[in-house]
Symmetry: C3
Subunit: 202 residues, 3 copies
Amino acid sequence: MNLLTIIDYIGTFAFAISGIRLASAKRFDWFGAYVVGFVTAVGGGTIRDLLLDVTPFWMLQSSYLIITALALGFVIVFGKYVIRLNNTFFIFDAIGLGLFAVVGIEKSIAHDYPMWVGLIMGTLTGAAGGVLRDTLINEVPLIFRKEIYALACVFGGLIYYICFYAGLSPALTQTVGAVSVILIRILAVKYHVSLPNLKGEN
Amino acid sequence: MNLLTIIDYIGTFAFAISGIRLASAKRFDWFGAYVVGFVTAVGGGTIRDLLLDVTPFWMLQSSYLIITALALGFVIVFGKYVIRLNNTFFIFDAIGLGLFAVVGIEKSIAHDYPMWVGLIMGTLTGAAGGVLRDTLINEVPLIFRKEIYALACVFGGLIYYICFYAGLSPALTQTVGAVSVILIRILAVKYHVSLPNLKGEN
Amino acid sequence: MNLLTIIDYIGTFAFAISGIRLASAKRFDWFGAYVVGFVTAVGGGTIRDLLLDVTPFWMLQSSYLIITALALGFVIVFGKYVIRLNNTFFIFDAIGLGLFAVVGIEKSIAHDYPMWVGLIMGTLTGAAGGVLRDTLINEVPLIFRKEIYALACVFGGLIYYICFYAGLSPALTQTVGAVSVILIRILAVKYHVSLPNLKGEN
C-alpha cells in the first residue's frame, strides 16, 4: 500500500465522516447515515466515471465500502468527541479534496480529453459528492454559498496543467497540483475568502 | 407472460402508485405525478443499469410506461379508495422490493461482479427509486429513517448468495432470495424493527 | 455557424439565465450560480446521453461552458434589468425547449430506438435540466405543477414523428417539430392551460 493509496483512504474517510455527521443531525438511522457517508465519499468520482463511460472506481474494490463502515463505527463510538475534532476533519477533507481533484484530472487525461474537461472532472471528483450529500439530506448545497471549495479544484487544476505542459515529472505534477488545491482551500477558510453572491449586487 | 413477469409488473404498479400518491399530496399535476410514479418504479433499476453500463431496462420495452399510466389512471379514478388499500399496497410494495432486489443481484452476477457489488445492486434496484421519488418531491428520503427497508434487500441478498453458492437451482435461489426480502420487510414493519439513529447516542 | 447552431446557443443561454436567476434568489455565490446555470442548460441532454450511452454532448466542445459564462456575466452586469426582460427570456426558453426536444428525438432515432423512447428523450432533453436546477436549489420542481411545459415536448414530438413517418424532408420535419413545441408552450402560458392536479379530484 503506497502513500497515494493511504491519502486516498484518508480523504475517503474524511468525506464519509462529513456525510455521516450531517445525516445524524437529520436523525437518519445507521443505514441512512452509512448511505449518505458512502455517497459523499464516492459520489463525485461516480458521476465522473459515468460521464467518462468507465466502470465506477468503487465497483472494482471493496475498500471504499469498508472505509465508510469504519467511519460509521467511528461516529457511533466517538460521537461526542467528533465535534471537537472539527479542525482535524477540516484538514483531512482538504487533503481528500486535493487528491480527488488530481485523480479526476488524470482520468480525463488518460481518456484524451482536453484541459477544460479535466478541470471539470477534477472539480466534480472533489466537490460533487458533497452536493449529492446535501441533496439527500434535503438541504441547499453548502458549497454553492460558503468559502471557496469547488473553485479550489479549478485553480489547483490549472496549476496541475501548467506543471503538466511544462514537462514536470508525473509525481511532481501530482504533488504540486494536490498541494495547490489543499493550500487554496485552507487559505480561503483561514481568511474567509468567498465569492460575491449575485443578490448583493442587485 | 410467465409468473416472474407478472410479479415484476405488480411490483412496478405498486412502486408507481407510491410515487403518484406522494406527488398528489404535493399537488403535482397529472404529468408531474406520472413522472414521479415512473421514476419511483424504474429509477432504482436505471441507476443500476447506468453503473453496470447496460441499456436501462425500461428502454427495451414499453411495458413500464404503460403500467405507470395504468397506475395514474387508477389513482385518478379510485383516489378516495386508494387510502383504504394501504395494506394491499404495502404487500405489493414488499413483493416488488423482493423481486427487484433479486433482479439486481442476478444482473450483477451476469456481469461477473463479486457478491458485495451484487448486494449493492440489489439494494439500489429495490430502494433507490424511492430515494429519487423523495428527492423529486423535495422531502428527506423516507427509507433513511423508517423501519428496515433497504436493509431487507441486503439481508435477503445474503440469503440469495448462500443458496447460490450452496448450488441450489436458479429458480429455488430466486424464490428463497425474494421471499426472504419480503418476509424481512413485513416482519420489520409488523414488529416496528428500526435501526437506532445516531443522534440518540450522542 | 449555421442557423441551427445559433438557435441551440440561444436556447442554452436562456436556460443558463433561468438557472442563474433562481440561484441568485437563493443567494448562491458566483460559482454556485454558474454551476446551477450550467446544469440547467446541459443537464437534460446529459441524462439523455448517459441513457443512450454516448459521450455527453458538452464534453465534445467548450461552447456550452462559454455560453454559461456569458450568461453569468450578463446577470452580474444587467442584474437589475433582467427582471424586465421576462418576456424575452420566456420566448428564448420556449425556443430552447423546442430545439432541445428535436435534438433529443433525433439522437434516439440515430440509435434506432422506437418512437416512445424518442418522445422520452426529447422531453428529457428539453425539461430535465429544469428539474435538476430545482433539485439543486432545493425547491419542488416547477414543471410538475405549472402550465404545460414538458408535455409540450411530448405533443410536439408526436407531430415530429407524424412528419417523419409521412416522409417529409428532415429539415421540414425538424422545423415543424420544434415550432410545434414552441407554439404549444406559448399558447399554454397565454391561455393558462394546466393539467388538473390529483388532489383537486379527491
